[in-house]
Structures are given as structure tokens and as C-alpha cells.
């Protein structure tokens, strides 16, 4: 039932320069996630076996309600797995307490959301810098500059979210996600609220991050064109991973 698609080696040479025994960044083993809606148990994930190698750009596709977001939340330590195991960068999330998962999220994960989720009272600079502040290593001006430049944000840093277009907001969100050099970026329909042009900009930025910096990315999308930017596509249905897109 659960078939991982073949791992296409990343285009760059990053893998070869790393440790010869490459460990996956993400591993899930028979991962279940149940929600409790009143007395009813809603299974969102029903035995996910999934692996992501360093430097991969994986798309997750599937119909609405199949559990894509739930998977991302569990991988990012925002939600607790109900059953099974989740390893991120070798750390077993299922054995961790709330505080430990928070710390892992802070150090190893960068989230990007469909609704951008910038803090409305901070300008772009503040929204990116607060991630550094939470991380606790202070403001790294060099890295800040490099990233905002790469994402084309230098002229927008003093703008608040309400003064920016959706595309700009999402680029700020990406800058915020990568400012602390996370092991993996988890993006939940990052282009879901964007027009075609802005979607392309955002996707090419993600792709660039992946190719140039070897940034590992897991991205949920409904859009096959968006999925085409990734190195591998995983299909989900009813809480499990299936081998191909359902014929419809």
C-alpha cells in the first residue's frame, strides 16, 4: 500500500560532499494521527511510512482532507503523533515532550503557510528578525542581508504585511523560515493564496533554495505545476500514501 517513489538524486553535488552514509532527515514509521472531535475519533493519518533525504524537494499532493496538513504538523512537531514513530534529523519526536519539540522546531524546522502568517504589527524586517530572536543567537546581519537580497526583499523591509502583496508576504515568510538555517522547510500550500505570477516567483525561490543551498523542502500543493518544481512527488489519500495520483 505504502510505496515511496524512487529518490531522484539531487541535481547538485551536496550529497556527495556530505557524510558518505547519508541519513534521512525525516523518517516516519506507521504514523497515525487521530483527532478527537467530541466523542468521535477522526483518523487523519492512518499508517504513514515516509522518508525524506537531505537536499530533497518533496511535494505532497492529495485531495482535500486526506491528511496532508496533519502530516506536516506532526513532522514539524506542532502536533503529537497518536501512534508510530517520527524521526527528524535523528530525533524521535514521539518520545519528546512539548518543550523539546518546541526547541526542535526552533532549531531545525522552518514553516511556510498558505496564509503567510506574518505578525501584523511588525514590518518585514521585524518578521524575519523575530525568528532569529526566538532562536536566541541574536541578529545575524550578514545572513539577514544575504537572504533578503536573494528573495528580493531589500526594498520592502520597512513595510508591514498589510502594505505588501501576497507574493511579497510569502517571500518574507520564506525568509523567516530559512533565517535560522533549518534542516528542513515544511510548506503548506505556499502558493495557495497567490496568483500565477507570484506563485511562479515563490516556487522558483524555493527551487533555488533547494538547488543552490541544498535546502531540504517538503511542500504540500494541489497544483501539479507547482509539484513540477520539486524533485519528487508523494501522493496521499485518506490518510495514507498511495503510489500514484488517483484517476479522476
Amino acid at each position: 500500500m505504502t510505496i515511496t517513489t524512487t529518490i531522484r538524486p539531487p541535481a547538485d553535488a551536496l550529497l556527495t560532499t556530505r557524510d558518505p552514509i547519508v541519513e534521512p532527515i525525516v523518517v516516519t514509521e506507521d504514523l497515525w494521527k487521530l483527532y478527537h472531535a467530541g466523542k468521535v475519533e477522526v483518523p487523519a493519518l492512518r499508517g504513514i511510512n515516509f522518508k525524506v533525504m537531505p537536499g530533497e524537494f518533496v511535494s505532497v499532493m492529495g485531495p482535500s482532507g486526506c491528511g496532508k496538513s496533519s502530516l506536516l504538523y506532526v513532522l514539524g512537531g506542532l502536533a503529537r503523533a497518536s501512534r508510530g514513530r517520527v524521526l527528524v534529523n535523528g530525533n524521535d519526536l514521539t518520545a519528546m515532550g512539548d518543550a523539546e519539540r518546541t526547541k526542535l522546531r526552533r532549531d531545525k524546522i522552518g514553516f511556510v503557510f498558505q496564509r503567510f502568517n506574518l505578525l501584523p504589527t511588525l514590518d518585514a524586517r521585524g518578521n524575519i528578525a523575530i525568528a532569529q530572536h526566538i532562536h536566541g543567537h541574536g541578529f545575524d546581519a550578514k545572513r539577514f542581508e544575504a537572504i533578503t537580497q536573494m528573495l528580493g526583499l531589500t526594498g520592502r523591509l520597512k513595510h508591514r504585511p498589510s502594505e505588501m502583496s501576497g507574493g511579497e508576504q510569502q517571500r518574507v515568510a520564506i525568509a523567516r523560515a530559512i533565517i535560522n538555517d533549518p534542516k528542513i522547510i515544511l510548506a503548506d500550500e505556499p502558493t495557495g493564496n497567490l496568483d500565477t505570477q507570484n506563485s511562479e516567483i515563490v516556487l522558483s525561490m524555493l527551487s533555488k533554495l533547494n538547488k543552490d543551498l541544498g535546502q531540504t523542502i517538503v511542500m504540500i500543493t494541489h497544483n501539479p505545476e507547482a509539484a513540477a518544481y520539486s524533485s519528487r512527488v508523494v501522493h496521499m489519500r485518506d490518510g495514507v500514501i498511495v503510489d500514484a495520483a488517483p484517476a479522476s
Binding site: 514539524g76 506542532l78 526552533r106 506574518l118 526566538i134 523567516r176
Partner: protein, 366 residues
Amino acid sequence: MIRQLVVNNVLHRPIRTVVSILAVGVEVALVILIVGLTSGLLQETAKRIEGIGADIMLQPPSASVFLAFSGAPMPIKIADKLREMKYVQAVAPVLLQFSSSNGVDIVYGIDPKSFRDVSSGFVFLEGHDMQGPDDVLMDDWEAKAKHIAVNDTFRMLDHDFHVAGIVEHGKGARLFVPLATLQDLSGSREKASVFFMKCTNTEYTQAVMDEMRPVFPGYEIRPLKDFLSLMTATNLPGLNAFIKSMIVLAVSVGFLVILLSMYTTVIERTRDIGVLKSLGASKAYIIRGLLGESALICLIGIGVGIAMSYVTRAAFQSSFPTLSILITPEWIVRSALIALAGGLLGASYPAWLASRKDAIEALSYD
């Protein structure tokens, strides 16, 4: 960065912020003014009592130095007993009455001769000493505040008095009437509320007090030398309890307003809290941010409250010149700390709620 977030968040809802600041301001001003008013009154009372020039003051058991609340009066015969004691030169019985016509006043019922013996007499600025039973003496401040001149009729305690003289302030009270008249008016014939005593020499004060104690067990016997410095609000149990309960009331206002304001803030910012959690912010980080906001509001409110106290005092003193409100640095600092603590306490429940929010639910909050 969190500082900027705190400041921007506080500025984000100006009306809510202003209301919270005002609440803290009112709280601080209330504390400063209540303490200021009581200690002002007390200091003034103490200064005036000291100004009488007596050496010892005898009051019934558990009487307050706020002479108006003096408990049951004592038989006037006590004066004779006191006069018989060694080293006692003069004894002046005084009956006290609280008059609330035209503001609040303490009236001394005195026997002019004995009062003069103890206090070495009034300084008359106008008019003359009491002669008839309806004569009243008034001090200059009172006369000025009430726009009263010699020979005016002054109604008080449901009785028309004739203003016989205006005297220099500082001799116990601002209003003096004949002892017998006040005894009649208050239905306490042959009674006195306090005895002021003069010794043949101030050095004998302690000796006289030692002699008095076994004769008047439980009575309040106070030396009046250095009386002023001894009389502070916190030295007096009843007053202290009153001040404390007023402070608790004032702090409750600040506490509740901050609690409500931070509670609505937390609900309004549910999503932002979810975002911070997704970025790996710890519970402590979220709590710190929210407490920072309430601390900022409190600090501004404290400044406003201090300003409000001075403005209120100025306003009061222009309409009630006899009222003294004592604003001390000590109580400014105390009220500030109390307000800050109350504000942080009020914010801590909403902050705790925020820190416990489920990240995913928070992120999907609209």
C-alpha cells in the same frame, strides 16, 4: 526585537491601551492621594496638637490620635485627680466634637482659663476671647476658607454661634467653643474626651506619666514632645488597616482592567501566538512578551497616575486650602511597585492561557 513587538502591539489598539493606562493611572493616583490625605491630615492634626504646648495627653482606652474618633468621653472629675499629682502644673479638659456642616471640622470644647494655662493662650488676630456661651473662636485659615469675619453668626451643630475672635492657627483645632456649651449640645454633661497636661517642668513628663499609668490602666497616655515624628499613618493600626483596604480596592481596579485587556488581546492575537509557536517560541517567550506589554502599559500608567495625583492635589487645595495632602517619594515608589505588581498579576492569567494554546488550533483561528 521582542521589544519592538511589545511596543507595536501596545500601539496596535490605541483605545484599549489608553483605557488600560488610565485605569492604572487612577489606581496609582488613588493610592498616592489616599495615603497623602490620611498622612496629611494626621501630620496636621499632630502638628496642631503639638502646637498646644502641653506635655502629656490623656485619652480613654483605645482612642485614636485622630481626635474626632475618640471613643467614649471620660468624667471631667479626672481633671481634679490629675491636678493633685506631683509636678502637674495645669490640666485642660477638652471635649471633642465632629462637625460636618460646611465640610468636616473638629470642634474643641474648652474651658478658656485652663486651656490658657496649658497652652499659654491664643494669639488673637481679631476680636476677643469667648465671653458668652454661644461664642466661638476660629483660626485664621478656617476663617479665610469660610469667608467669615468677627461678629458673624456661624451655624454649626444645629446651633447659631457668634464669632468672637479669630486666632492664629496651630492650637489643636480650628474651632473652639465653651466646654459647657459643647457638653450640652452633644449630650455629654460633665464629660471630656481628652485632657491636656502641663508639667511644672518638661523634664518631669516621664515621671508624671509613670505616676499616671497605674491610676489610669489601659488609658492612652502620650507624651507630646516629638509627637509629630511619632505620628505616621503606618504607626496607627486602625488607620493602617483603612489605608491597606483602600489600596487593595485601588489595585483591584488596575488588576481587573489589565486582566480584561490582556485577555481580549490574547484572544485577538490567537493566530499570532500560533505563529510564534510554529517558529519555536517557548511558553516562557510568549508569557514574557505579554507580560512585557502589560508592564509597558503599567509604566506609562504609573507616570500618568503620578501626574494625576499632583493635579488633583492642586485642584483640591485651591478649593479647600485647609486640606493638606502629603505626597512623599516613598509612597510614589510604593504605589508604582504595587501597580506594576497588580498589572503583571492581572496579565499573568491571560499570558498563561496564551502559552498553553494549541498551536494548530491557534494557526487556524480566524
